[in-house]
């Protein structure tokens, strides 16, 4: 839409703001870009004094691990189509093949299957095929860009980073599920209640949110360590020691996260008119049915946005997870910190960088998939639809 002449900004201001935004984007993106580049180079290249050597990686090429122009071109085309297919064909296939009541399961299976095919094609099929092409292509087949995936293999296969990944998924999954279940119910109740008690509950939640996280951890720690003794009268000999278990972390993270979730979901519920509940109740729903069948379907943007924030909290948490988990239950973020705790070699450091890139990628994916719901969720209260 063209801006009218009267509203248009002067050229100097436009150029100035564009330049500032570009600078800002570069500044923000540089660290991400740099660890991505470093994670694919041999340690000598990754810590070279010359920036060009880090980018092109001459010693990585010398080790026989490089990409030719053809490799880069084919790889980029493959990635482009992989992403496009994921966003165009995959949803259609999932909808067509799964009955509506199993939609979540269908999506899960569809995405996992797609990821598996993607990995097999990218790492299993492409390299040998391209190797043959490169050997007959002459100068275009000569490696120009150093690139090695050895650090990723070291991290995921040799160091068993997948275990940390699974632990992260358990913790974040637990945090998101409990936060959203309690949050939607509490948020709905508080949004629809006009009583003074609701107001004071919300204020209390705000105060809990303001507490430093370490206070909660310090308060819970002795309880978790002694939980077997505390719970014995109730559970008998089956009473677990919660310290070191994902469950303990989930409990603390939910405690940290819940006030925020309740506040956020409450404001989403408030933007849904009361008449919708009332219409549903007159039409034949109980109060809870009205909530489940009429209000929740309208609430998806709010649930997804809140769920994403809960996910980020659980996924990125360092303090709680590092203090409460033992080594075999460790999540990804403290596991990366572990790389620096030993007598660190440059190889360890590059592996830590590869691990850091690995935990960033799912976040990008998540935001990309849910961006539309997130935007509509964030603006839902602001403008009336």
């Amino acid at each position: 839409m063209a801006t009218s002449r009267a509203l248009r900004q002067p050229a100097s201001l436009r150029i100035g703001s564009a330049a500032f935004l570009t600078f800002w984007c570069l500044l923000a993106a540089f660290p991400l870009f740099w660890i991505l580049v470093m994670s694919f180079k041999s340690p000598v290249d990754a810590f070279d004094a010359s920036a060009l050597a880090v980018i092109f990686g001459p010693r990585t090429i010398a080790e026989g691990k490089g990409l030719s122009v053809i490799d880069i071109a084919v790889g980029l085309v493959f990635l482009y189509f992989a992403v496009r297919l994921a966003f165009t064909r995959l949803p259609g296939l999932v909808w067509a093949l799964t009955p509506p009541e199993l939609a979540v399961l269908g999506w899960l299976i569809g995405c996992l299957a797609y990821a598996a095919v993607f990995v097999v094609l990218l790492f299993g099929v492409l390299p040998p095929v391209l190797g043959i092409i490169d050997s007959v292509a002459g100068p275009l087949g000569q490696p120009v860009l150093g690139m090695t995936t050895e650090h990723y293999r070291a991290v995921w296969v040799e160091n068993g980073f997948y275990r940390n990944f699974i632990n992260s998924m358990i913790v974040t999954g637990g945090v998101v599920t409990i936060s959203l279940t309690v949050g939607t119910l509490a948020g709905y109740g508080l949004a629809r209640s006009g009583s003074n008690l609701a107001f004071w509950l919300l204020i209390a939640a705000l105060i809990f949110r303001a507490l430093p996280h370490s206070v909660l951890v310090a308060g819970y720690l002795p309880v978790f360590i002694n939980s077997a003794e505390i719970l014995r009268p109730i559970l008998g000999d089956a009473a677990p020691t919660l310290y070191g278990q994902p469950l303990a972390v989930i409990m603390v993270l939910v405690a940290i996260n819940q006030p925020f979730t309740i506040w956020m979901l409450r404001s989403f519920f408030q933007s849904i008119p009361m008449e919708l509940d009332e219409a549903a109740r007159v039409d034949g729903c109980t109060h809870f049915q009205a909530f489940r069948r009429v209000i929740m379907p309208v609430m998806w943007p709010g649930v997804i946005t809140t769920g994403l924030f809960s996910f980020l909290l659980g996924y990125n948490d360092f303090l709680v997870t590092s203090l409460l988990l033992d080594s075999q239950n460790q999540t990804m973020v403290p596991a990366i910190a572990g790389y620096f705790n030993r007598e660190t070699t440059t190889t360890d450091q590059v592996e830590a960088i590869a691990a850091a890139v690995s935990i960033t990628a799912p976040l990008f994916l998540l935001v990309m998939v849910f961006q539309r719901q997130i935007v509509s969720g964030l603006t839902a209260g602001a403008v009336k639809g």
Partner: protein
């Protein structure tokens, strides 16, 4: 099919009284309109019938059941809301079908019943659309269809026309009237618009600050307002109300003198309707003589306004009448058209006027009242 009984129903929030001992029986198949300015408790009364609001006191009976402690879903009522209350994630068809699905009506009947309901409100072409893709009038028709699809014992309509523009309001009003005639279901209709009340109602309840002012057929209420509030609320323009004193059967106020009244001496408010008076011809004795305050052309008539008895008094004149503002005019007010009210309490003290005919409002009466051109409201 059920009659509704409200037995001394009250609603209080703390010390604030929303509805004050409302006592009324709504007959089976009756179309009852609750009328009053905003904040008069009419919507609260309806919400208490629906079960969305608890009655503080009193009993509510629908049919032969006391429903005070029943959930809205168990009261067998259907409701139409001012802002539609449609489910935005469902299309029109599913919106109409929703009550059937929730109430576990056998699946096989759904399609036929949804289609019959949608045909009654002429929505057949829009069944696949989402509510967001409909105009206001269409949305309200979806809400109507959703209400009638289940054939409830009682219809409740909460200002269903207030969100529509003037033209749609007239056509949707006609549709509601036709539907209620066809379905013959007890209906309670809330509105602040007296024209809607006049056109739709079998009986009208006029409320003010939670207290019922008058219950009656539209004609009764129009011809015999029980107090000055009803007189000033019903009709457009509302009844002229002048302050003055009666001495020896003669009402006197500023610029006004009406004789031949059968009323005790004292301070009174005298009312008459604009169409009952006329402009005094040459040589005729004028009861009101004052300078013209304003003249408004209404198309089918001319509205003349003067200041008399401490108020603005409007009188209808033939449509070709012309005069300048400030000119002296005289009005003839027939004694038999005057309504007398106690000045302090506002209650009617003068005689009740005999209704025209046998007391049952004829269709043409309602029509005549409803089509009085809209003046300033």
């Amino acid at each position: 099919m059920a009659k509704i009984e409200l037995r001394n129903v009250s609603k209080r929030w703390g010390s604030f009284i929303g509805v004050d001992s409302f006592d009324l029986t709504i007959e089976d198949r009756e179309f009852l309109v609750l009328l009053g300015p905003s904040g008069c408790g009419k919507t609260t009364t309806m919400r208490m019938i629906a079960g969305l609001e608890d009655a503080t006191e009193g009993e509510i009976w629908i049919g032969d059941r006391k429903v005070n402690d029943l959930d809205p879903k168990d009261r067998d009522v259907a409701m139409v809301f001012q802002s539609y209350g449609l489910y935005p994630n469902l299309n029109v068809y599913e919106n109409i079908r929703f009550p059937l699905r929730v109430r576990k009506v056998p699946e096989g009947e759904h399609d036929e019943r949804v289609r019959r309901a949608s045909a009654m409100v002429e929505l057949d072409d829009f069944l696949h659309r989402k509510p967001a893709e409909l105009s206001g009038g269409q949305r309200q028709r979806v809400a109507l269809a959703r209400a009638i699809v289940r054939r409830p014992a009682v219809f409740l309509m909460d200002e269903p026309l207030s969100n529509l523009d003037a033209k749609l309001r007239v056509s949707t009003r006609a549709q509601i009237k036709n539907l209620s005639h066809e379905l013959k279901v007890t209906t309670v209709y809330v509105t602040h618009d007296q024209i809607e009340a006049m056109t739709l109602a079998d009986r009208v309840v006029v409320m003010k600050k939670g207290v019922v002012q008058q219950v009656g057929t539209p004609t009764e209420i129009y011809d015999n307002p029980a107090n000055t509030f009803v007189a000033g609320f019903i009709g457009s323009p509302a009844m002229n109300l002048m302050d003055g004193t009666v001495t020896g059967g003669v009402f006197q106020g500023r610029d006004v003198r009406i004789g031949g009244l059968d009323h005790a001496d004292g301070d009174v408010t005298l009312g008459f309707r604009a169409e009952d008076a006329s402009v005094a011809g040459p040589g005729e004795e004028a009861q009101i003589a004052a300078k013209l305050y304003t003249i408004e052309l209404l198309g089918d008539a001319v509205m003349l306004t003067v200041r008399a008895g401490g108020a603005l008094v409007s009188v209808k004149a033939p449509k070709d009448f012309r005069a300048e503002i400030g000119e002296p005019v005289g009005f003839v007010v027939p004694t038999e058209c005057c309504h007398l009210y106690d000045r302090k309490s506002g209650e009617r003290t003068g005689a009740w006027h005999r209704p025209q005919g046998d007391g049952v409002p004829s269709a043409s009466d309602a029509e005549r009242i409803a089509t009085t051109p809209a003046g300033p409201m």
